[in-house]
Symmetry: C2
Subunit: 145 residues, 2 copies
Amino acid sequence: MARLKIEDVAKECGLTKRTIRYYEELGILSPPQRSEKGTRLYTKEHIDELKKIVNAREVLGFSLQELQQFISIGNSLENHSQDYKNTTDRTERRRKLAEIDRILGEQLHLVEQKIQRIQEVKAELEAKRKRAREAIVNIDKDQQK
Amino acid sequence: MARLKIEDVAKECGLTKRTIRYYEELGILSPPQRSEKGTRLYTKEHIDELKKIVNAREVLGFSLQELQQFISIGNSLENHSQDYKNTTDRTERRRKLAEIDRILGEQLHLVEQKIQRIQEVKAELEAKRKRAREAIVNIDKDQQK
DNA sequence: TTGCTCCTCACGTCACGTGAGGTGGC
DNA sequence: TTGCTCCTCACGTCACGTGAGGTGGC
């Protein structure tokens, strides 16, 4: 398994090194292993994790606090086939899953609203471009006279 | 023309009063008229202006500095049929319009990328919900035995 | 050694949030 | 008067940016 340094991760994810350390400090990104001298050594999994974080933050506009919640929901789904399955009784598991389903529904609603709004912005930009291009055509026509 | 107070505008646009005053301070929102005692009196146009600002900020993720540029582009298009038409010569106007066209193209590209990414997030959320629902169904099946 | 990256403080900045303290109309 | 909103400072906060100052491998 290739051990990646913080600079590699920063480039891959389009973040600064400061931001990556900061996310670790806040507990949003899992802490990587360290070399003897303290250098952080990342894996591919860290990159995948970070890309999801960035996507959720930029696209959904979540604060970093909200992101922590968002991520822990994803994790509890991933882990549901492990010890979680044994330690929790059925009714408790069902209740938790129903809660997760509800939150996911909320988030999907939020995402759909975002898509709606971004389509509006796109339409406006296209209308502006159309006007700009028409204005250019008119100038060129005048020129020909 | 109805004169709106800052609280009305805040509710309509989903912003705080502080934010509205701050945008005015930065020159992003045109300053409204004032009553004798200094109270800000807004019009419907201010609300439209603010809604566009909020949409562009939240959807495009622009900084407030970038927003100022973004807005001035919109305005120079609106104004192109007024004194602008007389004071500037044809080649200069053509050059400006071509520049506006280029920037709009960039922004459209940015918006399309955003749409791409938000669709990815949506797909991931739907996949998670599917897994959560399957897990619930399985629990209910076990219960029946 | 020089050049490069790594680390941990720690102060600065941007976009507001949040009182403080005072005024004015119903 | 009481309750409400308005105003202007001005300090606080969140999410980093940006050096400072020191260490370590090629």
